[in-house]
Amino acid sequence: MKDDVENREDRVANLKGLGCSRKRVEDARFTQGKGNYVDDIKLDGMIFGDFVRSPYAHARIKSIDASAALEVPGVLAVLTAKDLEPLGLHWMPTLAGDKQMVLADGKVLFQGQEVAFVVAEDRYAAADGIELVEVDYEELPVIVDPFEALKSDVVLREDLVAEDGSLPDGAHGPRKHANHIFTWEAGDKDPTEEVIANAEVVAEESMYYHRTHPCPLETCGCVASMDKVNGKLTLWGTFQAPHAIRTVVSLISGIEEHNIRVISPDIGGGFGNKVGAYPGYVCSVVASIVTGKPVKWIEDRMDNLMTTAFARDYWMTGKISATKEGKITGLHCHVTADHGGFDACADPTKFPAGFMNICTGSYDIPTAYLAVDGVYTNKAPGGVSYRCSFRVTEAVYFIERMIEVLAIELNMDAAELRRVNFIRKEQFPYTAALGWEYDSGDYHTAWEKALKAVDYEGLRAEQAQRIADFKAGKTRSLMGIGLSFFTEIVGAGPVKNCDILGLGMFDSCEIRIHPTGSAIARLGTISQGQGHATTFAQILASEIGLPADSITIEEGDTDTAPYGLGTYGSRSTPVAGAATAMAGRKIRAKAQMIAAYLLEVHDNDVEFDVDRFVVKGAPERFKTMKEIAFAAYNQAIPGIEPGLEAVSYYDPPNMTYPFGAYVCVMDIDVDTGVTDIRRFYALDDCGTRINPMIIEGQVHGGLTEALAVAMGQEIAYDDMGNVKTGTLMDFFLPTAWEVPNYETDYTVTPSPHHPIGAKGVGESPHVGGVPAFSNAVHDAFRAFGLRHTNMPHDHWRIWRTAHELGLHA
């Protein structure tokens, strides 16, 4: 900072703190090809591992013969479950309280499952070796339908059935069937059913939120390096939660935690895919211990889509009741959740269906009940929160579809139905029927702003004209207005009810101020593209009065960063951002004492002003934070330790509840099913806005992934359990060609309990975007009798909908 800047506005601007659209400091290296991703790590003597994967979705393994593979020049070893068993590593615990095979132990449960790990001097030799590992499979009946799984005699997980045939309890209580994982309930069953039974109007609908995949551009991978001389294991990898990975590796390997260093280098997108622990990590560690060499494992695209954590796969059935005037009285929701062959969902321990119980949405619904049944099938395990907090996108899709269906039942405008039922501003903090306490909100203001911005009445008039023209044969195009109002629940979370593997979901920040007035702050989170190095420096700049440009943010190295639970579920700003502010306040408190000493006044006689402490009533007498930092290191101040450092571990008192109002305007060619999104308006309220430019970027990204999921992206299986969408030829990843223009807008309702009032935004646009796109498709056909049709709304499915409605006659 220039010392001669005295104008207060200039001093604020100089900090580039809260509210500044500061350019991303990460981008200098990313845009010049200087990022350092896990596959960029090259160590002396490094070797490579890759998997023999099952071509079958369900089969018994009769034998594995690796002799021909071991003849391939360069192939060093082939690991199977038999090799891992003596170490107790042939199975590993999952985040959901289940266990998962690291390498196939007698059978395979999904196509692509890891059967053997071929270790070779290079990737090519490993690939040649894989071709020659002979596995003798005995095919077993395949179950890809969770409803069939609950009726079938075919037992997928024999390890979970006792010898006498009884079913021991799972991690979440009693199980109803060998292929059943858990039943999880929230709310009041009987009162809800009674309210619905006696209601004036009831709408019912079943919907499938299809299986999809986060598909980050960079696939998962790691480099494990066991230093046998000093007994230390270093593990680089694509980890969204490096500290939790260190603890997990320690617990399952027996290596003491201080001898493990986990490093997340630059990560090329995560979106939930990189939260879990995968067999590749375990096998790489074992291979490094066995060979004494660093071992690299990097997924290819098919491996990534087929085997590492999918998202969604929820079959949801709802009943919603209301008065004739449209006041909602009750909501009933049942979910059959397809978890695949192992329950490896990444959710806080007490929430096996994540925060699905936020499914009352943004509405004041007095009575509600939710039950979720988790089911095993012959599909890949996972169930991560793909760009959303735990299962929130499912919850919001469910309620926003139920609202639309209820609007049809009531013959009411869907915007008006929402307006009638929103939780009112004065009701916050609001305790929902399914238990959550919403910290803050102002839904009506956001809704009216959005409707006005898009000229909602005008759009409806245009749509009515279009329908008339269509019926008169003047056009073959229909117009849909997709409404969505969402409330996210992010920032997991309070240690009292949120943990993963027993680790409380706090987060942390440690700050060191250097003598010359610059600083480094280390956090327990890890950026995967969110721009933490930019935004956390801004939070700190406003708290401690040093320019953001003078603050380095470092994350991802467990040897240097304080312990934290990582980055997913939009928790970084609500939790680690809060820790940053709180640690900054500790710095400021000490700085205040130093300033008072230097100014020769009492501690209480100085006050903080942007970048300095000033004597109250005499602003010409001040010490800048830069001067204070230097004094902290060069003056002996009675009663104060030298140095200027602070650490904060922040346990949030509550979640944060960002919300937003989205409107999508879509034209649909009835004869081809081709959609044209002509307008997309997104209003987000994420509380205090740290960096508007980054928020806008996050909203664009989240909406684009919402577009993907709603309009085409899916992991589809055939009856034999073959993954039909295992490559980017078949798995829809939007490009600039498909992406519409987005208009962004905002309101600001700060979180009352967050130190700076911020709520998190990275996932909101995905959560709110999916129903907006989907509702637009539904709305286009509402006048022709469509109630519900499942996503993804690709051209063929839309064409089929039009066909089934008789619009091609």
Binding site: P55, Y56, Q111, I130, E131, M306, M720, G721, N722, D730
Partner: protein, 151 residues
């Protein structure tokens, strides 16, 4: 996956039938066939190199013939395994009709299910590849039988 086609072969029906049961003729005509061993009158073992889109693999498989309809018809069922590339099983019904003394119509209806990498990568290619392979087989087969007739 289903395949159906009609082929006209310039040979008497009995000769066509005999050629269809001749491992040497079959080995010559099956695209990519490296080995065809006849274990019994109705059991064959084959090794075939196949390329479907980006997947190339050596398949080893068994074929069982059902000759109860001979010489007007016969059926075959089989399964093949290509290791990491995937696997397939299926069958075909073949009917032979004498159009005149030197011309035979061969009609086949084949069904197959495929799995593994073939199914994932090749789903959009498999139908066209299978059609191409079948066409290649019957072209070679017709030529082989015609040649035998000429000889």
């Amino acid at each position: 996956m289903e395949l159906t086609d009609d082929i006209i072969i310039q040979a008497p029906k009995d000769q066509v039938y005999a050629a269809l049961n001749d491992p040497e003729v079959l080995q010559r005509c099956i695209p990519g066939c490296e080995e065809l061993i006849q274990h019994s009158d109705t059991e064959l073992e084959a090794k075939v190199v196949l390329k479907v889109g980006p997947v190339k693999a050596r398949f080893s498989g068994n074929v069982v013939l059902d000759k109860t309809g001979a010489p007007d018809a016969f059926s075959l069922t089989g399964q093949g395994n290509g290791g990491a590339a995937g696997h397939a099983r299926g069958g075909a019904d073949v009917t032979l009709t004498a159009l005149d003394e030197t011309t035979t119509q061969l009609r086949y209806e084949a069904k197959a299910v495929i799995g593994g990498k073939l199914a994932q990568l090749g789903s959009r290619l498999i139908q066209s590849t299978a059609k191409k392979l079948a066409a290649k087989f019957f072209k070679s087969f017709a030529e082989a039988v015609d040649a035998d007739v000429a000889a």
